[in-house]
C-alpha cells in the first residue's frame, strides 16, 4: 500500500478580480475521508477542480496521483441517461482501460455492492436520484483509484440511499483510497475524519469534527425569547446564542454544541469582526 498523501498546499485561485480560493491547504491521506463544507459559491467545487488539475492555481502547490489513479463523481452524478446502468459502467471502465476479466470482476462486485444488479439493464435516465448517485459512484470506483473525489454525492438523495452511499464511500476508504467529498450539510460533514469549512473562498474552520466543536471557545446556550445579541441563530422554535463568557441570564440554558453550532459561531465571528455585517 502506497502511503503518499495528496492535496493542496497554500493554494489560491483567482477568476479575474474574484478570489475563488485564498491560501487553502488540505491534506488527503489513505483510508481517510475529508469533507469540504460550505454554501453555494464558497469555493468547494473550485477546490475539487483545482485538485483534479482542471483549474490552474494562481499560487500554491497541488499534489495528486497520475490521471488514471483518480476517481471523480461530478455534481449531478455525470451518468449518461441514454445508456443502461451496465453500459454506463462499461463506458467508464473503457475510459480507464479496465477490460476483460478485470472489468467483469469489477462490474459484478460494484453492481452487487451498490444494489444496482437488478437494475443493470435500466436506462440511466430512468433511475431515482439515489440510484443515479450510486451508479456515478460505481463509475468513479471501477478502476480502483487511490484518490476518490466526490462533488456533493448526497444532494437530491433520500436518507435511505444516503446511508447506502455513505457505506460505499466508507468501504472505498477502508480499502485504501484517500477520499475528499463536498457537502452543504454539516451533519454529513460531521461524519468525515476531517472537515474543511469554506466561506467565500477562505478556510473558516479545519480539523476533525470533534476538535472543531471542542474548540468553539465560549459558551453556547438555548433560549426561547428573541435574544439581543447578534451572535444568535435559529434552532427550531428556539434560538441558540453564543457568548465568550458564562451566560448571566437565567433565560439561557447551556447546551452541548454540535458542528453546526461551531460553524455558525465561526461564520458570525468572521462577519462581525471584519465588519461585513451590521449589527
Amino acid at each position: 500500500m502506497n502511503e503518499t498523501n495528496w492535496g493542496l498546499e497554500s493554494v489560491s485561485v483567482d477568476f479575474g478580480n474574484t478570489h475563488a480560493l485564498q491560501d487553502v491547504s488540505v491534506t488527503l491521506s489513505p483510508r481517510t475521508i475529508v469533507g469540504v463544507a460550505g454554501g453555494d459559491g464558497s469555493g468547494k467545487t473550485t477546490l475539487l477542480r483545482t485538485l483534479l488539475g482542471l483549474l490552474t492555481p494562481s499560487s500554491g502547490a497541488v499534489d495528486r496521483p497520475d490521471g488514471d489513479d483518480v476517481g471523480y463523481l461530478p455534481a449531478g452524478s455525470g451518468i449518461y441517461p441514454d445508456l443502461t446502468v451496465e453500459e454506463n459502467l462499461k463506458f467508464a471502465a473503457g475510459a480507464y482501460g479496465v477490460r476483460g476479466d478485470d472489468y467483469r470482476a469489477a462490474r459484478d462486485e460494484l453492481l452487487a455492492r451498490t444494489g444496482l444488479d437488478e437494475a443493470h439493464d435500466r436506462l440511466g435516465g430512468k433511475l431515482s436520484g439515489g440510484m443515479r448517485q450510486k451508479l456515478g459512484l460505481a463509475m468513479s470506483l471501477v478502476h480502483r483509484p487511490r484518490l476518490l473525489v466526490l462533488d456533493e454525492p448526497s444532494t437530491g438523495v433520500d436518507p435511505v440511499s444516503r446511508s447506502e452511499l455513505w457505506r460505499l464511500v466508507s468501504e472505498a476508504a477502508r480499502d485504501g483510497a484517500s477520499v475528499v467529498m463536498t457537502t452543504t450539510y454539516l451533519d454529513e460533514a460531521g461524519r468525515c475524519d476531517a472537515v474543511c469549512v469554506l466561506d467565500e473562498g477562505v478556510v473558516l474552520l479545519q480539523g476533525p469534527p470533534n476538535d472543531l466543536v471542542a474548540g468553539i471557545g465560549g459558551r453556547v446556550g438555548e433560549t426561547t425569547s428573541r435574544p439581543e445579541t447578534r451572535y444568535a441563530w435559529r434552532r427550531g422554535a428556539s434560538w441558540r446564542v453564543w457568548s465568550p463568557d458564562e451566560f448571566n441570564s437565567s433565560a439561557v440554558r447551556p447546551v452541548n454544541p454540535d458542528l453546526q453550532d461551531a460553524v455558525i459561531v465561526a461564520a458570525l465571528r468572521r462577519r462581525h469582526e471584519t465588519g461585513e455585517v451590521a449589527a
Partner: protein
Amino acid sequence: MMLADTGGVSKKFGDFTAVDGVDLTVARREVVGLLGANGAGKTTLMRMLLGLISPTSGRVELFGETITPDARRRIGYVPQGLGLYEDLTVAENLEFVARAFGVDPPEFGDLASSKDVLVRELSLGLRRRTAFLGALSHQPELLVLDEPTSGVDVIARSDLWETIRATAEEGAGVLVSTHHLEEVDQCDRIVVMAGGRIVLAGTMAEIVGDTVSGTERTERFERRFAELAIA
C-alpha cells in the same frame, strides 16, 4: 380550523397508488416537516394540497373547505427550483408576483443592494431570499416549501429559518418537504411517508431521541428511515 387538512386521501395513477389513505394537518403557528424517500408520495401529496391535481378518493381541505380557486391566493409556495424569472431583476420578479396577487411589492430589506440585479446573476442564497420574499408578499396563511434551504451556507440558512419561523409566529402554518436532518431539526413535528402512507409522525425527539449529539443523531435518523422504508 386547520389550514390544511386531509382525511384518508389517496391518489392513483393507473394501477400505481402514489398516495394511500393519508391524514395530514397543518395548524396555524406550526412548522410541519414532510419526509420520505424519493417516490414515497410527498410531491403528489403537496400537489393535491396546492390544488394542482385532484385526489382519487378522500378529502382535501384548505382553510376549512374544499379547495376553491380563492384558496390559492392564501398559499405561498416556494418550489425547489424556486420558480423565479432569471432574465428579470429582483425588483421585477417581486413586482410581477405582487401584481399577480394584487398586492404592493414587499420591502426589499437585505435585498435592497441587489434589487436591480438579474436573478440569474445572483448567488443561490440571494435567489432563495428573493423567492421567499415573493412567496410571502401576499401574506399567505399557509406556506408550502420544498427543501427550502438546500445549497446555502449556514448563515443564509439561519436567516431563511428566521424568516420561516417569524412567518409561523405571525400566525401562518408551514409545510416543509425535506431530506435533511438539519431542516428536520427546525420543525415542530414531522410526518414521514413511505410507499404512499404515513409511517411515522411526531417530534424529532420522539424519533431519534433528545440527548444524542450531531453525528450520532444523523446515523439514527437514517437508520430509522431505512427501517420504515423497508417496513
